[in-house]
Amino acid sequence: MDRRWIPILIVAGVVLAAWNLAAYSVPQWMQAIVVQLGEPVRTVQEPGLYWKLPLIQNVLYFDRRLLDYNASPREILTKDKQQLVVDNYSRWRIRDPLQFYRTVRNEEGAQSRLDDIIYSNLRETLGRHTLREIINEKRAVLMEQVTKRSDEKAREYGIEVVDVVIKRADLPEKNELNVFSRMRTERERQAKKFRAEGDEEARKIRSESDKQVQILLAEARNKAEVIRGEGDALAVKIFADAYGRDPEFYQLVRTLEAYRNSLGEDTAVILSPSSDFFRYLKKLEPSEKR
């Protein structure tokens, strides 16, 4: 190898080393503080390429992204003395890396500090409201309050709390059983009601139709009797008109007809030959006996 290359390589080496020691880049998702002999001197929150003094300054990086805080579920007592198991989470970011570094040092420290801040705020705020308000009516408003208060508190630590959200709010197991039995009785009540309503409706319909049947038939009988009566009356009138012409003759004719109809083959009659019908029988053969 040529001797004249040696200085070139040396220069290159020195430049590279200097570059490494003096230049640093902060990526998009990071922020940094520059520490000079243990003393923070500068905060870098914009990504890009930066310079520092070699050797005596070094760089501490912190996440610039939104971070999550996830607490394990905890019981909170509501205003109406209900136990509520609250599982909440929070999104936060490091707002001031220098302050953050001074007070909590790293994310682990921040988590435990957030735990204190958020839980106490949550307990206090939820404790002033009823279960119904928490679950139903005011959830969003309450969480805004908790977020705001926690954020104010967390500023001391260079932290911004973006939000605190109740992920789950459930009843503890024993209360859950109560809810289940209440739900069950509620449903049983409904089922009974439906069945009774069915019975009610059915009875109404049946009795209504029975009523209609009775009315229909009675009306029909009524009309039928009237009609029959009319028939009878007219018949009587017709007879009376006809027979009224000669009542004596009618009597004769009708009597004879009655004889004809009532005296049949099985009728036995004991007669005296002196009766009117046999008048001639006696006179022509007076000795004849039976």
Binding site: D68, A191, R195, D199, E225, D246, L263
Partner: protein
């Protein structure tokens, strides 16, 4: 920057590019063309490495990706699918997240086996939720989301939130529980589903936008909304009670439909019978009256003779068929007459109407037969 990077190498040797190239060429010739072997020139290495290094800046973005180019860690631009070039490392680099892919998260259940047949496992801790009326409902849903197509979507997705997936999960759970908390159980189980779904999707999008996570919710869909297993039989019984109610009403209506028309028919029958009776009565009466009048007309012409004739005709007919016993008035007054009526009348058959039948039945109608 690139010039500063090249600095170390442009410091020493010849500065004229043509001179450099000539020298490089000579080196190559000497190295391979059989010149003095063993003579190694750094220029050769430079000549190979510099183009290679420059080429390393070429990148290709696949159709489902979007490129984000970082210069010293700072986002400088985004690149659409296709080939592109960035200043080689360590100045610039490219990150290529998949942006068209639709990501899916499941809540309240997990797919154990995508199948077919698909198998699922319930996650009751996630699925059970408190409703606004302090009931508990079991609700399973999925969320599908993707990187926002807008210009900054990929950058936001990559760099704004540490754990975007988990953020969606937590946000979706919170959103759904908040919405369900605003609804009553009956609503959540029945017609309110659509609404809950829409509201939860809207709320989740709000949450995600608050975080600037660069994601958009494509769909949020309720899968199953059921009463909890512990009380599902009671809920089912309500359904069957409803059906019982329907059934009872239907049966009663059926009964009504059966008896009322029948009664109408019966009523009509009664009326018709009555009408018939009336008409028959009138006709009979008219007929009899006519007959009497006709008879009477004839009678008026010869009263006494007709009287006699009617009497005798009738007696003839009546006497002709009757059984007769003559008893003289004289015999009756002498002693108490013995008259064995049953013997006298016996040969006569009983209740036989047709004269033709009489000879046939007469011999058999003996006392022993009785």
């Amino acid at each position: 920057m690139s010039e500063r990077n090249q600095g170390p190498w442009s410091g020493g040797g010849p500065s004229d590019p043509i001179e450099i190239l000539t020298k490089v060429w000579e080196d190559i010739r000497r190295q391979f063309g059989g010149g003095t072997p063993g003579r190694f020139s750094p220029w050769l290495i430079v000549a190979i490495l510099v183009p290679l290094y420059a080429l390393s800046g070429i990148f290709i973005i696949a159709p489902d990706e979007r490129g984000v180019i970082l210069r010293f860690g700072r986002v400088v631009r985004e690149a659409d699918p296709g080939p592109g070039y960035h200043i080689p490392w360590p100045v610039e680099e490219v990150v290529k997240p998949s942006v068209t892919q639709i990501r899916k998260a499941e809540f309240g259940f997990r797919t154990v086996d995508a199948g077919p047949p698909a198998r699922y496992r319930d996650e009751d801790v996630e699925a059970l939720m408190l409703t606004g009326d302090e009931n508990i409902v079991k609700l399973q849903f999925i969320a599908q989301y993707k990187v926002k197509p807008e210009a900054s979507g990929a950058t936001d997705f990559l760099f704004n939130v540490r754990d975007p997936q988990e953020t969606v999960r937590a946000g979706a759970e919170a959103a759904m529980r908040e919405i369900v908390g605003r609804n009553e159980i009956d609503n959540a189980l029945t017609e309110g589903k659509e609404r809950i779904q829409e509201d939860a999707q809207l709320l989740l999008q709000q949450i995600l936008d608050r975080y600037d996570v660069g994601l958009e919710v494509a769909t949020l869909k309720l899968q199953d909304v059921d009463p909890p297993d512990q009380v599902s039989d009671a809920f089912k019984d309500v359904i069957s009670a409803q059906q019982d109610k329907e059934r009872l009403i239907n049966e009663a209506t059926g009964y009504a439909n059966d008896v009322v028309p029948k009664a109408r028919g019966q009523a009509a029958q009664l009326l018709n019978e009555a009408e018939g009776y009336k008409a028959a009565k009138l006709q009979d009466a008219a007929g009899a009256a006519q007959r009497f009048i006709a008879l009477h007309d004839e009678y008026s012409k010869a009263k006494e003779v007709t009287r006699q004739r009617l009497y005798l005709e009738t007696m003839e007919e009546v006497m002709g068929r009757m059984q007769k016993i003559f008893l003289d008035d004289f015999a009756g007054t002498q002693v108490v007459p013995y008259l064995p009526l049953d013997q006298v009348l016996k040969p006569r058959p009983v209740e036989v109407v047709e004269p033709a039948a009489q000879p046939a039945t007469q011999p058999t109608a003996q006392p022993g037969r009785r």
